[in-house]
C-alpha cells in the first residue's frame, strides 16, 4: 500500500535528518520526492479494476482511490519543487516541512480510500493536524501564527460537526461502514429525521473542509497569512481529498438521501460562486484574491456533484484536478516573484510583469484565463463539463447563474492580466528561481493549453474512475 511507504519514509526522513543534517542539506528534499515517486509506483502496481474492501472493512481499494492518490502524489511533488527555494530563503527549510507534508499526504490517501467513517475521520484529522503545524512553521510571523490559530479553532469545530453527524447516521443505520450505511439507508423512508439531521451535520463538516460558503471564513485568512509555500500545499491536494470525501460520504454512503443533499448543494454552490466572485473583486492582495477565487471554484466543483449522476461526478473530478493544477501554477508565479525579504503578495507587485519577464507573464496569463474559463484553456473545458452536468440533470437556472457568475469572475482575472501587460513595472528586479522551479512552472503553464486536444482522454479516464459509484 502506498500509504505505508509514505509513512515509513516520513519517519525515516525525520530520523535521517538528525544524523545527516549538516552534510547533505538537500537530502530530505530529494528523499521526499523519491518517496512520492515510489508511492506512486506502488499505487499503480496495487491498482486493480475491481474494488476491494481491505483491512476489515476500513479501507477500499478501487480505481477512484488509485487515481486520486496518484494525483495527490503528483500535486505534492510539484509543491515541493515550487517551495524549495522559498522555504530555504525564509529559514524554514527543515525536515519538519517535508515530514509534515508527507504525513498530510498519508492523511489524504486515507481519506480517498476510506470505507469506514472512522478511517475517514482519522485521515481527515491526520491531514488537519499536519496543516495546523505547517501553518505555524514560521514562528516569528504574527500573521502565520494567527492564521494557524484561526484554522485550528474552526477546523476543530467542523470536525466536531462531522463527527456528530456521523454519530447520528450511526444511530439511524446501526453501522459505521459506508457500504452498510448505504444498504440500510436504501431501506429507510426518505424522511427519516435522524438520518437527515446527520446528513446536515456531515455536509456542514464537508463544506467546511472544501471551503464552500457559508463555511468559508477560514480560507481568505489562512491563504493570506500562511507562508506561500504552505498556501500552495493547502490550496491544491487537500481540495482533491475533500472532493473525494464528498464522493465517499455523500455519493457512496448517503445516496439514499440524494434528494435532500442535492438541494443543499445547490444552495452551497450558488452562494460560493456568488460570494467568491463578487468579494474577490474588492481584494488588493493577490493571495486573498486567489482565496476568494478558490471559494468560487469550489462552487463550480459542487455543480458536478449536484447532478447526482456518475458522469457528473467524473466532471467534478476533472474540475478538481484541473483546478488544483491551475492554482498551483498561480501560486508558483507568486513564489517566483518573491525573493529573500520580499513577498510578492500585492496585486500591484504584478505591474509590468510582461516587461520584466514576457514568458512568465504569458504563463500567468494562461493561468488567469484558465481560471476565468475562457477557451481554449483547460479551465474552460472543466467549466463546460460541470455546466453540462447540471444541464443534463435539468437545472437550467443553476447553469445560467453559473455562467453569469463566471462573467463577474472574469473581471478580476482580467485585472491581473491588465496589470501585467498594460502597466509599467515598478520593480526592476529580475525574476530568479531555481532551474527546476522554472521548468516545472513552464510545463504547468503550457499544459493549460497544450493538453487541450486530449481533454477527451482525461474525461474518459475520470468517467472510468467513478464507474463503481451509484
Amino acid at each position: 500500500m502506498p500509504e505505508i511507504i509514505v509513512l515509513a519514509m516520513a519517519c525515516a526522513i525525520l530520523l535521517a535528518d538528525l544524523f545527516f543534517k549538516r552534510r547533505f542539506k538537500s537530502l530530505m528534499y530529494w528523499a521526499s520526492q523519491a518517496t512520492l515517486g515510489m508511492a506512486a509506483i506502488a499505487a499503480v502496481m496495487h491498482s486493480s479494476a475491481h474494488s476491494r474492501i481491505v483491512m476489515h472493512g476500513m479501507m477500499i481499494a478501487d480505481r477512484l482511490s488509485t487515481v486520486l492518490e496518484i494525483s495527490i502524489f503528483a500535486l505534492t511533488a510539484v509543491v515541493f519543487v515550487y517551495s524549495k527555494t522559498y522555504i530555504a530563503e525564509r529559514g524554514i527549510f527543515k525536515s519538519e516541512y517535508f515530514v509534515l507534508a508527507l504525513l498530510g499526504v498519508v492523511g489524504m490517501c486515507v481519506m480517498v480510500s476510506a470505507a469506514h467513517f472512522l478511517s475517514l475521520y482519522l485521515g481527515l484529522e491526520l491531514l488537519s493536524l499536519c496543516l495546523y503545524a505547517m501553518l505555524a512553521l514560521q514562528r516569528d510571523s504574527i500573521s502565520a501564527t494567527e492564521s494557524a490559530m484561526k484554522y485550528f479553532v474552526l477546523a476543530a469545530l467542523s470536525s466536531g460537526l462531522l463527527l456528530y453527524g456521523m454519530s447520528m447516521l450511526y444511530g439511524a443505520t446501526g453501522s459505521l461502514e459506508i457500504s452498510k450505511v448505504a444498504a440500510v439507508l436504501a431501506t429507510l423512508s426518505r424522511h427519516n429525521l435522524v438520518a437527515t439531521l446527520g446528513l446536515v451535520f456531515v455536509l456542514s463538516g464537508l463544506a467546511f473542509k472544501l471551503g464552500a460558503v457559508p463555511f468559508h471564513m477560514w480560507i481568505p485568512d489562512v491563504y493570506e497569512g500562511a507562508p506561500t509555500a504552505v498556501t500552495l500545499y493547502i490550496g491544491a491536494a487537500p481540495k482533491v481529498a475533500a472532493f473525494a470525501l464528498f464522493l465517499r460520504l455523500l455519493v457512496a454512503g448517503l445516496h439514499g438521501l440524494s434528494g435532500s443533499w442535492q438541494d443543499m448543494l445547490v444552495l452551497l454552490s450558488v452562494l460560493s460562486m456568488a460570494l467568491g466572485n463578487i468579494v474577490a473583486i474588492a481584494q488588493t492582495n493577490l493571495k486573498r484574491m486567489l482565496a476568494y477565487s478558490a471559494i468560487s471554484h469550489m462552487g463550480f466543483l459542487l455543480l458536478g456533484i449536484v447532478s447526482a449522476r456518475a458522469s457528473g461526478y467524473a466532471d467534478a473530478m476533472f474540475y478538481a484536478l484541473v483546478y488544483a493544477f491551475m492554482t498551483l501554477g498561480a501560486f508558483g508565479i507568486i513564489i517566483l516573484m518573491s525573493r529573500k525579504g520580499f513577498e510578492a503578495e500585492q496585486l500591484d507587485d504584478l505591474r509590468g510583469l510582461h516587461q520584466r519577464s514576457p514568458w512568465y507573464a504569458f504563463m500567468m496569463l494562461l493561468f488567469m484565463f484558465s481560471m476565468a474559463g475562457v477557451p481554449p484553456t483547460l479551465g474552460f473545458y472543466a467549466k463546460l463539463a460541470v455546466i453540462q452536468a447540471v444541464v443534463s440533470a435539468g437545472f437550467y437556472g443553476l447553469a445560467i447563474s453559473a455562467v453569469l457568475f463566471s462573467v463577474i469572475g472574469a473581471f478580476y482575472y482580467l485585472r491581473v492580466v491588465k496589470l501585467m501587460y498594460f502597466d509599467q513595472p515598478q520593480d526592476s528586479h529580475a525574476l530568479r528561481g531555481s532551474r527546476d522551479l522554472r521548468w516545472i512552472l513552464s510545463l504547468n503553464g503550457v499544459a493549460m493549453i497544450v493538453l487541450v486536444p486530449w481533454v477527451g482522454t482525461f474525461i474518459a479516464v475520470c468517467r472510468a474512475t467513478v464507474r463503481g459509484l451509484p
Binding site: 477557451p375 447553469a399 501587460y421 477527451g456
Partner: protein, 503 residues
C-alpha cells in the same frame, strides 16, 4: 500526381487555413525576442501563405451545391461527442476569403508603424486570423464556441497594449461585454446538445422540432451573443470605445471581420435552428436594425473624431445587414451578405486611411486636418473612392448591398424601405462632410503642411482594397453566384419558408 495533391488539399484545406497563421504566430512569439529582424518577414510569409492557401477554395468550390464542402471530421472529446468538424458553404466561404485577405493587409499596415513589442503584435494578429477563419468554418457547436471566445484574448491584448490613451477602460469593457453575450449562448448550445440526443453537430440541430417557447428562449440567448458582436443598438456602446482606442490594425480587424461574425451567427444558427422564433421576433429585429440605420446614422454626423465617425457608420451599415437577414426574401438576404463583404473592404480601407493620417499627424480629430489634398493628392484620390463607397455610390460595392436590401424591404413594407433609404442621405452626409473637412480647403495647420504623400507600402494595400471595392461594385456576379445555392437553400428550408414571401 496532381489529382492526389488536389485530393489531399480538399481534405485538409480548412485545417491548413486555420492553423497556418496560428502556428506562424506561435513561432514568432518563440523566436521574436532572439531574432527581432525575422519577425516581420515571418509574419508576411505566414499571412501570405494563408491567403494563397485559401484561394484554391474559391476555385474548387462547387457553387451549385448548397451542402457543406471541404468537410473534415475528427473525434475530439468523445465523452461529450465533440468533433473537430469543419466545412464551408456559400455563406462562409466569402467570409473566409475576406478574412485571409484582410489578415494579409493588416500585417502590411503594421509593418513600420509598430515599434513596441513587435513580436507580440504580429503574433496576436496572426493567431486571431486563424481563430476567425475557424469561427467561419466550424460545423461543431462547441468548436465554434471555442474559436469564438478564444479570439477575445488576442483582441483584449491588442487594444490594451497598443491602443490609445483610454485603452484599458475600452478593452475591459469590450471583453466583458462580449464575454457576457456569449456565455448565455453556451447554455443554449448545451440545451440543444441534449435536445439533439447528445450531439454538438450544428447541422443536426437544423432538423430539430422545438416548441415555440424553447425556440424563443434559444433565439434570445443567441441574440444577446450575436447582437453584442454585430453590434446592434442598444448594445453597441463598446464599439466606438474599442475602435477609438485600438491601434489601426485592431480597428481594421474589428470592423472588417469581427462584426461579421455576429451576422454570420444569425445565418448559421438563429435562422435555420429556430426558424419559428426568427419569424415571431422578426419585427423586433427589423425595428432594432432600423434604429441602428437611422439613429446611429445621425449620431455619426456629429462626431469630431474620425475613428468614432467610421465606427458609428459601421454600426449603421451592420444595421443594414441584420435588416436584410430578417426580411426573409431573396433580394434582402443577398443584399445582406454582399453588404457584409463590401463593408469588410470599405471599413477596413477607411480605418487604414485614418491610420495613414494618424501615423503622420498623431491626431484623429477632424479639426486637426484640412487641405490634405494639397499635400497628399494620391491619398486623397483613394480616400475619395472609399468615402463614395461608404455612402453607397453606384459603381462601388457599397451600392450593391444597400440597393438589394432596400429592394427587398420594398417587397415587405414600403416604410421599411423608406427608413432604410434615409441612409443614402445620412451616409453620404456624414462621410462626405468628414471628407470635405479633412481633405479639402486651404492648409491651415503646420502639421498638415508638412505631410508627404503615401509610400509604396501604403499604396499597395489601398490599391488592393480599392480594386476590390470597384470590382464588387461593377461585377458582383462571382460573389452572388458563390452564395446563390446556399441562400436559396436557407430560405426554402421548411421552417424558414413558413411565413416568408416568395423568395
Amino acid at each position: 500526381m496532381m489529382a492526389t495533391a488536389m485530393g489531399f488539399y480538399k481534405q485538409a484545406a480548412l485545417t491548413l487555413a486555420i492553423w497556418l497563421p496560428i502556428v506562424c504566430g506561435m513561432v514568432i512569439l518563440g523566436v521574436g525576442r532572439r531574432w527581432p529582424r525575422s519577425v516581420r518577414p515571418l509574419a508576411a510569409i505566414g499571412s501570405a501563405t494563408t491567403f494563397i492557401a485559401t484561394i484554391p477554395l474559391w476555385i474548387l468550390f462547387h457553387a451549385s451545391r448548397s451542402a457543406m464542402q471541404f468537410r473534415e471530421t475528427v473525434a475530439w472529446i468523445p465523452a461529450f461527442h465533440v468533433n473537430y468538424a469543419l466545412g464551408v458553404d456559400g455563406i462562409s466561404l466569402p467570409l473566409v476569403l475576406l478574412t485571409s485577405l484582410i489578415g494579409m493587409i493588416v500585417v502590411i499596415a503594421g509593418w513600420r508603424v509598430i515599434k513596441d513589442r513587435v513580436p507580440e503584435y504580429f503574433a496576436a494578429f496572426l493567431i486571431m486570423e486563424g481563430l476567425m477563419i475557424g469561427v467561419f468554418c466550424a460545423l461543431d457547436a462547441l468548436l465554434f464556441y471555442v474559436f469564438w471566445e478564444a479570439m477575445l484574448i488576442p483582441m483584449f491584448l491588442i487594444i490594451g497594449i497598443w491602443g490609445g490613451p483610454n485603452r484599458v477602460y475600452a478593452t475591459i469593457k469590450f471583453f466583458l461585454y462580449t464575454f457576457l453575450g456569449s456565455v448565455l449562448m453556451l447554455v443554449a448550445l448545451l440545451y440543444l446538445y441534449f435536445q439533439a440526443g447528445e450531439s454538438f453537430n450544428i447541422l443536426s440541430y437544423y432538423h430539430l422540432h422545438l416548441g415555440e417557447t424553447a425556440q424563443i428562449l434559444i433565439f434570445l440567448a443567441f441574440l444577446i451573443a450575436f447582437a453584442v458582436k454585430i453590434p446592434m443598438w442598444p448594445v453597441h456602446t463598446w464599439l466606438p470605445d474599442a475602435h477609438v482606442e485600438a491601434p489601426t490594425g485592431g480597428s481594421v480587424v474589428l470592423a472588417a471581420l469581427m462584426l461579421k461574425m455576429g451576422a454570420y451567427g444569425f445565418l448559421r444558427f438563429s435562422l435555420p435552428i429556430v426558424p419559428l422564433a426568427s419569424h415571431v421576433l422578426a419585427g423586433l429585429m427589423i425595428t432594432l436594425s432600423l434604429i441602428a440605420v437611422v439613429y446611429i446614422g445621425l449620431v455619426a454626423l456629429v462626431q469630431e473624431d474620425m475613428k468614432k465617425l467610421i465606427a458609428y457608420s459601421s454600426i449603421a451599415h451592420m444595421g443594414f445587414v441584420t435588416l436584410g437577414i430578417f426580411l426573409f426574401n431573396r433580394f434582402a438576404m443577398d443584399g445582406a451578405i454582399v453588404q457584409m463583404i463590401s463593408h469588410g473592404f470599405v471599413s477596413a480601407a477607411l480605418f487604414l486611411c485614418v491610420g495613414v493620417l494618424y501615423d503622420r499627424v498623431h491626431s484623429r480629430e477632424i479639426s486637426a486636418y484640412g487641405g490634405v489634398v494639397n499635400r497628399m493628392p494620391v491619398f486623397a484620390a483613394f480616400m475619395m473612392l472609399f468615402a463614395m463607397a461608404n455612402s453607397g455610390l453606384p459603381g462601388t460595392s457599397g451600392f450593391v448591398g444597400e440597393f438589394l436590401v432596400i429592394l427587398g424591404a420594398f417587397k415587405v413594407n414600403i416604410w421599411y424601405a423608406f427608413l432604410a433609404a434615409t441612409t443614402l442621405v445620412s451616409g453620404a452626409a456624414y462621410t462626405l462632410w468628414m471628407y470635405k473637412r479633412v481633405i479639402f480647403g486651404p492648409v491651415t495647420r503646420p502639421a498638415v503642411a508638412a505631410l508627404s504623400d503615401i509610400s509604396m507600402r501604403e499604396t499597395s494595400f489601398l490599391l488592393v482594397l480599392g480594386m476590390a471595392v470597384l470590382v464588387l461594385g461593377i461585377w458582383p456576379f462571382p460573389l452572388l453566384h458563390m452564395m446563390n445555392a446556399t441562400v436559396h437553400h436557407l430560405l426554402w428550408r421548411p421552417g424558414v419558408r413558413l411565413m416568408a414571401g416568395a423568395p
